[in-house]
Every structure is written in structure tokens, then in C-alpha cells.
Amino acid sequence: MAIPPPTASPPRTEFLAALSKVFPAERLMTGAAQIAPYESDGLTVFRSRPTAIVLPESQEEVIAAVRICHRFQVPFMARGSGTSLSGGSVPIADGLVIALNRMTRVLRYDARQRLAVVEPGVINVKVSQLASPDQLLFAPDPSSGPVCTIGGNVAFNSGGAHCLKYGMTSNHVLGMKVVLPDGEVCDLGSDSLESAGPDLVGMFIGCEGLFGIALEITLRLLPKPAVYYTLEAAYDSLEKAGDAVSLVVASGLLPGALEIMDRLAMDAADAAVGAGYPSDAKAILIVELEGTPEEVEAEKPRLTQIIDQSGAYRYRVAKDADERLAIWTGRKCAFSAVGRLSSDFIVQDGVVPRSKLGQALKEISRLSDTYHLRVANVFHAGDGNLHPLIMFDGRVQGELEKAEELAAEILNYCIQLGGSITGEHGVGLEKRGFMPAMFGEADIEFMHLLRRAVDPLELANRGKMLPDAEAPALTQHGAHPLEKAGIISRE
């Protein structure tokens, strides 16, 4: 089916010489010690060694690097902070890593028109920080927001805790300037909310780097909600919390966020940041109403009534911004906090129809018992987006494989229920094998055709998203260094 691209072994010396004409030595790294930090990403079970890393500081340098790769037929991968949880930013063996962390300029910020034009290396939360004085925000808020980059958000169509109401990254990008895998540069979209002609921006976002590199991105900013009402309800079973989600949704309310944490996840978060979650609950549901003060005030009684009906045995409401922050800090750090319970874990990102949440959670719990592996659950319940976190001991022979097997069973179950293999982490390296279970053979072949039409040599992020591509073998390396330091988390 797939025709392997020509992979004549690249004349490495000439390739590096061409790069060195563009990049000074300190921004062209080839030594093993310099390369090591780039060998892996947020999904630490994959590791691969690139031939070199370049650190461009301008769009021209990115374009030049892509053109040199094209000339020498060397595969390349653009990378931001490397927080991908699907192995999307694991380097291509012997390929080039184009690290965009120095491309951090905000090219335009217009509060009146509510937009920002940024380079791909700009950190996600920096955008909202920039816009905050004007009471504006950038809606996509992945848990890795304090470190992940906009370029990565674009490549993987990142989500976060507020997708139910606001959608994913794709719903907040108006335009882009991109370099295609052969070095051709073009503009997609514009700075208007509306468009004429096919939605090329939407087609590019979430391509996992296969269509090229975004050089500048026009982001849509939203006015911040005037007030928040954050409620945390405690349940004596995870299923009850799952079922409560359907009740909230059926009530006609549209909360900004609907999140669930189970006992194991709460324990971890409490140990890490002292979030103060109820010590006797099997699960908690976090519901956040937001909007104008009058609107939220009018919605409160309805929410309270639903929570009472849902079998919550207790609930509390964040009294001020600090208490709200405490609830969210615990939620957002939950996965890195699980590192305290187990040094090794993998996190899945399957989606199920919302009404089947309870059923899916029950199955996960059954699988956890069968495999004798602990599974913590922290997830975007409003979207049906599960994040089961499978703990294992990598030092025990065969345990990684067992965890992978359990993860696979969960994903297949999500597909069986009519869901998706990934809600927001992307397919990357990790879930390529599951694409055929979700899409038909013809659909996947069509995706290959699209990819090859844009990139005939398959240079851009080769080996990601599409099945039957070569990939590095699984290895066990424990938590990412940034994760161990509590800076990033696997949401």
C-alpha cells in the first residue's frame, strides 16, 4: 500500500556543512551530549537519536533549514518544548530536529480586534498573560500550558479543560504562515473570523507536523468570563460521578469545564500540592460555570439541584479566586503528581460518547483488576475524554508490555463504544497502530495520499500519525526530567 520514500543514506558531512552556512556553531548541535535532551518527549517510552539539532532564531532560518533538508532528502521534525504525550516530538533517527524555542516573538497584539500574531515558540500561557490586562484570554489551556508552545498546540490541535464550550486549538486560530516540506512558503486563512474558500487553516492544524511548519500564527482571543463559579462534588463511586456528567449536560447548562478525578488521582494531587480534596470520596466532579455575573447567578440554583439529584454526598464551592486556583492546581498537576505513587506510568487519551462514560470507567476498573496494574483516572468528563493513567514498575521484566497491552484494551473499548483513540494528545508514534481500528483501510490510504501530495519525500515528521511507518522500539526511561521536576504534567 504505502510506497516507501527514497531513503538514500544522506551525505551527512555535506548536509551539516550546508546547515553550518546558515547556523553558527552554538545553534547547530551535533554532539551526543547536546543531542541527548532532545531524544525523547513527554511520552518517555520512545527514544531516538537525530543527526543534528538546529535552533533557528528567525523565519528565514527555519525556511533555510527545511530547504536544506529537502535538498539532501533528510527527514526533519519541528519541535517546541517536547511535551507531546503521544511521541509526536520524538526525533526521526538520523534526521534533523528544528527546535523552535527561540522563535518567541509576538509579532502583533491587537486588543481591539482581539487577536495576537505569534511565532511558534511562544509559550501557551504567555498569550493569555499578555492579553490579561485587556480582560482577554487564549482559550486552549492544556495542562502543559506553562511550558508547551503554540507551534506544538497547532501541530497537535491541543485541547485542555475548556473544550466542551470553546473547542480545541483549531477553533482559535484564524490564520498562519507556513513552510511546506519542500520549503515553499504560503499563507493560510487571515485575521478575520470569517473566510471564503476551503478552510486550509483547519486542514493544517492537527497534521502532527506532516504538512510542514507554522512560522507565524494568528490567534483569536476571547473576552475573559467576568465571573467563575467552581463547584466540587464528592461521590462514593466513580460511576456516579460519570453519570452526573450526563445529568448536568441534559439540564441545558453549558459549563466552561466538567472534570472528574478518582481517588487515586486525588491522593496523588493532595500529596503533591495539598489540594484539599475530600478524603473519603471515591471520585469528585469539578463543574465550573462562567460568564456574566447575572447569568452565573441565574444558573447556580439549577446546578445545585442537579448535583443534589446526582447522588453527590457533599459539595463545596470555591469562595474566592484562591480556592478556585487550589481546585484547578490539584487537577492540572494530577498526572505529574501520580509520579509520586509510581515512577512509571502511561496515560491514554481515548474518547467515548458522554452517555457511555460510566460504562467505560467500569471497564477500565475491571481491566485494572485483571492486569493487576493500578489505573488512576483524571479526565475531561464533559467531552467524554478519558485519561486513564496506567501505573507500572519498569524495572520488572515484562511490566511495560503488560501496561501497553492494558492501554490497548482501553483504546479498543473506546472505539467499540463509538469514540476516538485520541481526544487531544494526537496519534503521534504511540497510537498509529490503532488508526486502522478507527478508520477504514481506504480512509488511511487516502491520508497517505494527502501526505504524499504535500510531501512526496515524506520528510516532515516521518513515522508519525500514519500506520505502517518505521518507528523506534519501546524503551523504558521513567518520567521526563521536566515532569520529575513537576514542571510539566501528562494531562
Partner: protein, 359 residues
């Protein structure tokens, strides 16, 4: 095929056969966007009906030829709606036509447009292949986002057969305040002030010469206070609309009732800062162009006189550096100001339509 006897497939396989048998494919749904479906030789009107709908999931799947009016009725029974206010629904607009034309109404402002609510699509490519993209759940990041590409594709990337949409709970009630300003610049200032505020309007339209329409949706108990807040923000002469009168008003906007006979509808995306210059140009152009600006000044709907030269519209697009698309009426072309040699679009289009037969 001659244009007045289009093929009428009733199954996916028949759509494939039809596409394979035609050397050039022009698709129509109900034909409400006459500029885009004129000369259609493939009608989707027999491929209609809801295939799946579970109110608890906030999603539905339907055949592309399904009239949106039917979808609206079904959703309303469950207190749900399509927040982007798909236009021309009373005229008979279908799901497929709305996506292909890339049309969203005034409600696009609050939660996004048709692009933001389309989750999955099954289509037939120019070669007659069946392709599925996206998914049926509200959140999905697997594979290329083919549904997005279909939005505004004008039939050039495939014949859509089936689609899945996300829906939202319908606000309990709507109210609308119309504000009158002394000049265009003041009205645009007012528009920008509301758009940047925390008032969360559902719609924000500008109607020349100087009227700003602000629609609020939400809990009935909150309406009075929210209206008062907007009035404080703009401090100018205003008029309040509620109930049936209010609903009829926006229905009229969505059906383009303001467009007189003898005019052709054009969609021109732009930014609010271009309203004043465009108003100046249109004031000097020598022909009357009825118009309305939607989505907080991000789109201009123009009524171009049937007898006014098309070339002048092309020049206007060039001056504004914006593309425009024809929606109704007879034209020489469908779009102006777009890049026909776009490298990304061209590469992708070759896969969807290798024989270049999808119009």
C-alpha cells in the same frame, strides 16, 4: 448531462456511480445558494434524513441533503440548537450546502461558525472514492481534519454525503437591543467596545447607516440586568426587542429578507477596521449596494445589483485585500480575490479531485 435534469442519487453507492459517470460535477442541495449551484447536474435532495441523534451526546449525524429546518425542529424539541445560526433555513438550505458554501449566520460570534460545529464527514472524491474524516464524538484529534477542509470548499474537494455535527443547549431566552449612532465611525467604536467587553453577546451586527444590533441569549432571569449593562456601555439612543418580535427579526436577517429583488448576495469576510473605508467606497461607487455587517464586523453581506459590473466587485476585493464569494444570482465567477495557485490547496486538491472535474 443537461442542467435541468440532474442525477438524483438515493444511496452512497449511487453518488459514487454518478460522480464516476460525469465528466464535470456540479452539486446542488436545495439550490438556495444559486450562484454556487447553477447548472447543477447532481442533486443531493433525495439523500436526506437524520441518521443518528442522541440528545445526551450533543451530536447528530444526517445525510448531506437534509434540510436544516428539519434539524432545527428536531433539536428544538430537546432544547438544543446549532449556535452558528445557519442562514437561509426557511428557504430550504441543506446541511451539505451550508458546509460547502461555508455559511454561518450572526450567532457565529459567540461559539464559532459552521467550521467549529462540524465533527465528521463522509464524502465521495472526484475519483468516486468514499472517504471518511473526523469522528462522531465532540472531541477527536485522530487523522487529518478533513471536515474542516470541506467548509467553504464549494464542492471542489468532494461530494459530501453524510455529516456529524456538534450542537449546544439552547439559551432559555433571547433579547435584542438596537443602538443608533451619529456616524459610521462611532458605530464601529461601539461595536468594538461590545465585542471586547465581558457582555458575551450572541450576535453583534452593524446595519448601515448607523445602527448596531446586540443580541443577548441566556437565562431569562438574567436578561434585564444584562440589557442594562449593555445600555450603560454604549450610552446612545436605543430600542429593545423581545419575544416573538425579536425572534422574527433575526430570522429575517438569516433569510436575507433585507435584500431587495434585483440584487445578488455576496459574502465578503473582513475585519471591523475595514468597515469605515468600505462604507466610504460604497458611498461613492455610484450604485446602491444594500448591505449588512455580521459577526462583530468580520463579514460584510453585500447586495450587488444585477446590472452592476462584476469587475467592480473584483476591484473592491483587491482594494480591501480580501476574498469574496458569490452566494446568489448569476455571475461569471464564484470567487474574487482568492489565490487560484495556492500551493497547499493545489497539492491537496489533486488528491480529492485528480481529474479536476469537481466544480
Amino acid at each position: 448531462m443537461i442542467a435541468n435534469t440532474p442525477l438524483l442519487p438515493t444511496t452512497l453507492a449511487e453518488v459514487q456511480d454518478a460522480v464516476r459517470s460525469l465528466s464535470r460535477v456540479v452539486v446542488a442541495g436545495h439550490g438556495t445558494k444559486s450562484a454556487l449551484s447553477s447548472g447543477a447536474n447532481l442533486s443531493m435532495s433525495r439523500l436526506q434524513g437524520i441518521m443518528e441523534y442522541d440528545p445526551g451526546e450533543f451530536t447528530f449525524t444526517a445525510w448531506a441533503g437534509t434540510p436544516i429546518a428539519e434539524v432545527r425542529t428536531m433539536l428544538a424539541k430537546n432544547g438544543q440548537y446549532l449556535p452558528f445560526d445557519p442562514p437561509m433555513t426557511q428557504l430550504g438550505a441543506t446541511l451539505g450546502g451550508t458546509v460547502a458554501a461555508g455559511l454561518s449566520g450572526s450567532g457565529r460570534l459567540r461559539f464559532g461558525g459552521v467550521r467549529d460545529f462540524l465533527l465528521g464527514v463522509r464524502l465521495v472524491s472526484g475519483e468516486g472514492r468514499v472517504v471518511y474524516g473526523g469522528g462522531k464524538v465532540v472531541k477527536n484529534a485522530a487523522g487529518f481534519d478533513i471536515p474542516k477542509l470541506m467548509v467553504g470548499s464549494l464542492g471542489q474537494y468532494g461530494v459530501m454525503v453524510e455529516m456529524t455535527f456538534k450542537v449546544f443547549p439552547q439559551p432559555e431566552s433571547f433579547s435584542t437591543v438596537a443602538f443608533d449612532f451619529a456616524n459610521t465611525a462611532a458605530a464601529v467604536d461601539g461595536l468594538l467596545a461590545v465585542a471586547s467587553s465581558q457582555a458575551e453577546p450572541a450576535c453583534l451586527d452593524f446595519e448601515p447607516p448607523y445602527r448596531l444590533w446586540v443580541r443577548l441569549g441566556g437565562m431569562s432571569a438574567a436578561a434585564d440586568a444584562r440589557i442594562a449593562r449593555i445600555q450603560q456601555l454604549l450610552e446612545t439612543r436605543h430600542e429593545l426587542f423581545r419575544g416573538d418580535e425579536e425572534a422574527a427579526l433575526w430570522r429575517g436577517v438569516g433569510e436575507f429578507e433585507w435584500l431587495p429583488k434585483g440584487y445578488r448576495l455576496v459574502k465578503l469576510p473582513l475585519v471591523p477596521q475595514q468597515i469605515v473605508p468600505l462604507e466610504n467606497v460604497l458611498g461613492q461607487i455610484g450604485v446602491l449596494v444594500p448591505r449588512r455587517y455580521g459577526v462583530a464586523g468580520n463579514v460584510a453581506w453585500l447586495g450587488w445589483p444585477d446590472d452592476a459590473p462584476e469587475s467592480r466587485l473584483g476591484e473592491l476585493c483587491e482594494e480591501l485585500r480580501r476574498p469574496a464569494v458569490a452566494i446568489t444570482g448569476r455571475w461569471e465567477r464564484k470567487m474574487w480575490g482568492s489565490d487560484s495557485q495556492h500551493p497547499f490547496a493545489n497539492r491537496i486538491r489533486r488528491v480529492f479531485d485528480p481529474e479536476n472535474k469537481l466544480s
